[in-house]
Amino acid sequence: MSDNDVDYIARAGRRAKGKRPDTLHDFNAERTLSILMAVAGEVAVLKERLDTVERLLDDKGTISRADIEAYQATGDAAYERAVATKEYVARIMRGMQQEMEAMQAAPERPTAEISIELKNS
């Protein structure tokens, strides 16, 4: 930590000039999504850090914080970590992906309606 005069935590999150699109037409949904995506990002960071710890332990049996900071995944390790992150993103985005598939599906009736139909057929 340097003794610089810029409060990097406060300044990092500075708002960009320009009206923000009201994409979801709902303040609460917009703000909750921002929190959720930030938390999703932090979970990905924790997963990657844990992966670093595990790989270093596999390799050396004992590690320091400096080892974690210096670690750079290359080759197979880089690939495996990227696949794990891809899988993680696919998992948290499941709702959007399934709604995309739903748009392509034939029109579907409520299950309650099918339930009655099956009872009587």
Partner: protein, 399 residues
């Protein structure tokens, strides 16, 4: 099955003034890279599906006709819940990228400033002009949701805007621009070497150079050339100069200047005038002025070359025009839409470059393919960010 995944953020080259990420800051970029790739690749097609299955049929039912332009499609798509949520996710990823880049840069601002100062102090190759007004189009919004734009300063003499910009290019383009985010500049070198193998430009001018990532490869490829790179933002120029020097490109002079008025340079001064992903950040009045000024300072037989995302022609389906417009309205690129609808060939002709000396070319980023991916094109393309461009150029007729 081999998965299509981006390289890790740690594959970026750590030049001498590059902001150093911690383990977790790099991991944050890795998440954003994967997330961006997912939004454009894995589920980007959902926008088209929404359009085909319900937005277009509803529009046709309401209006008794097809949409007439990309704006009607945008208005209709902005009523669709799936597209709205996709847009909200994408907007958040842009904002998160800025916060991470600024956090990395600003927590080490003292160290970075000291390194940059070492390269900059007393150097004639960095010429700033504090009296230069920032043009309206560079100040009306923060482009790419980048707080403070290219000229923002956290304190006098700051360069952090440049450092932040450099640090995040990798994440926004999923590594498509290569280790130094210079795949565009490398592509220019490859293009000119094929096109004119023996050509040696004496003077090269780069307009809107930002952090100089696209001009450094040209300067290194033509070490005997005198290269001038201009921008209106002092903050990015300070960083660009130090970055170029640290990479050995000592033949570039970075000048704070507005390209609308380059009266400092005589007629026919440059053999090559270059812009890379720049024209869309101007305005309707500034763009033709800048093309005209560029033509004036270009020597007979010289090359004018603009690298941009594809223009919207009548041949481009309206839906594609709409999706290519996303950044214009959701990522603070307010001139993007109008610029891409311009007839650039006409603008260049009006500036004095006849049609028969003009050309267009398809240019792909040149990067180390053992580590970095080729840009996805077609259905999986990240429209507006793909590391694949159209070049609009001209060889100025000999006098």
């Amino acid at each position: 099955m081999k998965q299509d995944v981006p390289p890790p953020y740690t594959a970026v080259a750590q030049h001498a003034v590059f902001p150093q990420p911690t383990h977790d800051e790099a991991a944050r970029y890795n998440f954003l890279t994967a997330f961006n790739k997912y939004l454009s690749g894995s589920i980007g097609a959902g926008n088209r599906i929404a359009y085909d299955t319900r937005v277009l049929p509803a529009f046709q039912a309401d209006h008794g006709r097809d949409p007439q332009d990309r704006f009607e499609i945008r208005d209709a798509m902005n009523q669709d819940p799936w597209h709205r949520y996709w847009s909200a996710l994408k907007r958040n990823s842009m904002e998160m990228r800025q916060q991470n880049g600024r956090s990395i840069t600003l927590r080490q601002i003292d160290e970075l400033s000291a390194k940059v100062r070492q390269y900059n102090e007393g150097r004639e190759t960095l010429q700033l002009d504090p009296s230069l007004p920032i043009p309206h189009y560079m100040d009306v919004v923060d482009i790419h949701c980048m707080p403070g734009n290219y000229q923002g300063e956290e304190r006098p003499g700051d360069m952090s805007a440049g450092a932040n910009y450099d640090s995040g290019l990798f994440a926004t383009t999923a590594g498509g621009l290569g280790a130094l985010s210079d795949g565009g500049g490398q592509a220019l070198v490859e293009w000119v070497r094929k096109e004119r193998p023996d050509w040696k430009p004496r003077r090269i001018l780069d307009l809107g150079c930002t952090v100089g990532h696209n001009i450094v490869p040209l300067a290194l490829a033509f070490p005997d050339a005198e290269v001038i790179a201009i921008d209106t933002g002092a903050a990015v120029l300070r960083y660009a100069h130090a970055r170029a020097q640290s990479l050995g490109a000592t033949n570039i002079t970075f000048i704070q200047m507005n390209a609308e008025d380059m009266s400092r340079f005589p007629d026919g001064h440059f053999d090559w005038v270059q812009t890379t992903m720049y024209l869309h950040e101007l305005s309707g009045k500034a763009l033709p002025k800048i093309i005209a000024e560029s033509e004036r300072v270009l020597a007979p037989g010289g090359l004018m070359f603009h690298l941009e995302q594809p223009q919207y022609s009548d041949d481009m389906p309206l839906y594609e025009q709409f999706i290519r417009d996303w950044d214009a309205f959701n990522n603070n690129e307010p001139y993007w839409s109008a610029m891409h609808a311009l007839d650039l060939k006409q603008v260049m002709e009006d500036a004095g470059l006849p049609r028969d000396c003009q050309f267009t070319a398809r240019v792909l980023a040149v990067v180390d393919r053992t580590i970095f991916p080729a840009a996805a094109e077609g259905a999986e393309e990240d429209h507006g960010r793909a590391a694949a461009w159209n070049a609009y150029g001209a060889w100025k007729p000999e006098a």
